[in-house]
Symmetry: D2
Subunit: 286 residues, 4 copies
């Protein structure tokens, strides 16, 4: 029988495993599909999609639901699962939570009969994920550097969510923080937080940094700007492709650029799973 | 002759005096009208509006340009100046910077012939003014209290610009900070900054505070909520009228509520003048 | 009958009044002498010294016990009380807590028969009092300045308890903090906290500050150094007499120096009273 | 000829390599012995001990000078070098800087004829090394954990140099920090910094932590206390042997304890080398 205290988790990586554990810890019954190759997730009940549809009203798909638009994103499943009309038909009337859920809806018109909700586009989801992203960036910086972040000159490019969290954390470690941004109001925020501010269009005048963290998905560090950096400067790319660095030029100039994409799921899957849970709880309350 | 390095300052309070001084320090020629009752503003040249119009392209009016829609806001002028068609006609083709400039435009259709720009509606203006507002609030809290902010339990209501700056400053002094907000993304920000977060709709469950700073211009502290506060709790109202407190109820309950409006001009006129200058510089660059 | 849950409070200013209230709030019976001119201290019982000696084992004297070595420090007493052999004799066998208690012991040899303990020389007492001192200094800086502490250039001279607390608080408000000290290990601490550090013997090279807070009780700001400061710079003297400034020279040079002594009792008597209480509790536990 | 701008570096690990580089960058002539198996240290001149003694007045030995009291600590040397009377005799009249230099002096009475100075016992050396130690601890915590430090409950045991730096950094990352200490004045400092404080003798009442960092070299986490921790709690041992944990008990209880000794040289050899340099500069100035 459908029970409001049941959740079905269909596919996903480590984040969904920790999401499942966290739901169990909150007292929910959790049915899982697509984790037969993972270690047992204590307290959850493995089930088929059909069973899950019978037992649960709220179903949670991974982020992204699918990489290729054909198969479910389910790295811990023994067999790949096709996203078919049949599956969509089973889910009629259900409330489906997913990340990048438009990709799911594109697989069958029958998903229209379910209530499909995307947790990955929620503002608070993005805000919370800035934390494991920033910590992951710090971990990389600490690991790859022979010096310390304390006392180092750090440039954060971009003052969106990740730029904000990262610059606060760097300052909290005692780094000398400069933030490059464009909007006058962002420059005001940067300045009042006590960070040096830099107009993103005038970066050539100030390039003496030990660490550069880029969060802007647009080419900023082109050849000429890169050529002004010290080869001791460590660059960490946090923006999605194509990112801010001319990688070829950087390589020729001997500048290290480390691509650090999708950090939350990699460096802090437990935190990332709990962020999905928190976001879904908010959506359920609304 | 009109000279681009000239500025005309027409009316205003202490903020405009410091604005004038700061422009002089930056190397501009500054002509002033409406400060004959103030101390001499070193380096500026007193002039009539007519002279200013002849000499300057950029003219700066106060915030607000006028309180009553009839006279110029000019507390340091010996005589009140009517905002007339004649004045507006003199300003044809000029670039006019003002605060709440729509009030100026309402005084004459001839203002259409000037380029009227409002610095008070710019985002970076509001951001920067959050700083003297927050410091003014801290100064009041320190002055009125017999204890210290360090170690005290502080509630900040609202997480807009002032709420953000104030909660960071309180934490920087070592207070235990709780922030009340409504949006899930704000609650995420509050939480990741390490502050206790409180749903603004569920404040009755948590009322044990030494200081409450309200920034939300809507009645939140109605009688029942006020009755749960300790009479030792000091409330500071930073929101514009009507504000967040039922003042009558507070008085009857013996709760101190201090109204602290328009703090920047009062507690830090120099900073406030420089903020106007910075904002105008940004507008000139665009 | 002597009761371990009784405390006697003999003389003192507002701090002792709040100390008394705080002891009452913790459930103790509190007998007071020397507050007949103050408002009623709710929950306490006024008594004579003789009665207090009969009822209490633990007696608390003010800080300082006496200013002149002759009379009790008791600004709220109607009549001055001589510190006599008779009083000392009544206190035989009692545990006496006082501030600068050696002054009490100097009034009569009979105090040797009591256990006289000084709370004002305890390290944690001094540490805790650095907080109201630093906040008091910030309050003065905010009140006297036309600008904001945020973004201002602040110099803290000395890196003892007050220097440490004050520099952290200034940084927490977003000031640009420089600290002058002498010992290499202090300079290392200053630097790792992200503050600019300055050798106290080489201060002439760096004098561009908006605020200077001195905590070192030795002449540092002599005429030549003062002459390099801007007249806009606000100096706050936190060290005990003679302090760090040549006041005559400062006056002639038009530099404002504000003497701010004994801040805890003035700006935060409640906090100061609780600090006395906390310290006495620690002493009772040992 | 002996030249005051020459430094000789005799033995050591990566820290001494970066020390050498940093001295070169400051314009000194640097002669090195014991790095024939390392990559070329740009700008330095490999030499024998005899040559170094001829050319330099200031000689720098590693930390520790020797592990076994017999051979020089020189992991990058092809052949082990005995610490002989002959070597000591060559150094007559020289100024010798070393870490744990008493071990060097124990190898020959002839060292009495040199000026032997220990940089490793200087207070500022220890203060500065607290930074790479704390960052190394954070790097381990981030790497080993599936969650984030932000928002986690962290316990720092001990409030010496490392405890102070580490608790500030954890707070700077947004962790909820508790510090356990013993002295009332330390507890006052902890509390005024806004951290929860815990009496080190009463830790059983508060054991709900995600991370525990121990800096106290005495057994604190014995079996009974360990048994109250969650198995999800990650313990990091920063104190020198024997440290604070009963490792056997921890293993049986399934509690992870990571030993993290000598972090500066391991995680930040460049920073560690510069700290040696800064300390020697201070010693030269005195």
């Amino acid at each position: 029988m459908v029970e409001m205290n049941n959740f079905g988790i269909i596919g996903g990586d480590k984040r969904q495993i920790y999401l499942a554990k966290s739901l169990v810890a909150d007292g929910y019954n959790v049915y899982t599909f697509g984790f037969d190759q993972a270690e047992e997730i204590k307290g959850t009940i493995p089930a088929s999609c059909e069973e899950i549809a019978l037992l649960c009203h709220n179903l949670i798909f991974p982020l992204p639901v699918t990489f290729d638009g054909v198969y479910l994103n389910a790295p811990y499943a023994k067999e790949k699962m096709l996203l078919t009309d049949h599956l969509a038909g089973q889910m009629k009337g259900k409330r489906i939570f997913g990340g990048m859920i438009s990709r799911l809806k594109a697989t069958s018109p029958l998903w229209e009969q379910a209530e499909c909700l995307d947790y990955s586009t929620r503002e608070e989801f993005a805000v919370q994920n800035a934390v494991p992203t920033a910590e992951g960036a710090l971990e990389i910086a600490m690991r790859e550097s022979l010096g310390t972040l304390n006392g180092s000159r750090c440039l954060v490019v971009g003052y969106g969510r990740i730029g904000k969290v990262l610059s606060d954390m760097l300052a909290g470690l005692g780094a000398k923080v400069t933030v490059a941004a464009r909007k006058p109001s962002d420059l005001s925020w940067i300045s009042l937080h006590g960070y040096q501010c830099l107009d993103i269009h005038k970066m050539e005048g100030n390039t003496d940094f030990n660490f550069i963290f880029n969060t802007v998905p647009a080419l900023i560090f082109y050849r000429k700007l890169l050529s002004k950096l010290s080869t001791d400067c460590l660059c960490i790319e946090l923006a999605s492709t194509p990112g801010g660095f001319d990688f070829d030029a950087a390589e020729k100039l001997g500048i290290s650029v480390i691509k650090a994409a999708s950090l939350p799921g990699k460096v802090a899957p437990k935190a990332a799973g709990e962020i999905i849970k928190n976001t879904i709880y908010n959506m359920l309350e609304e």
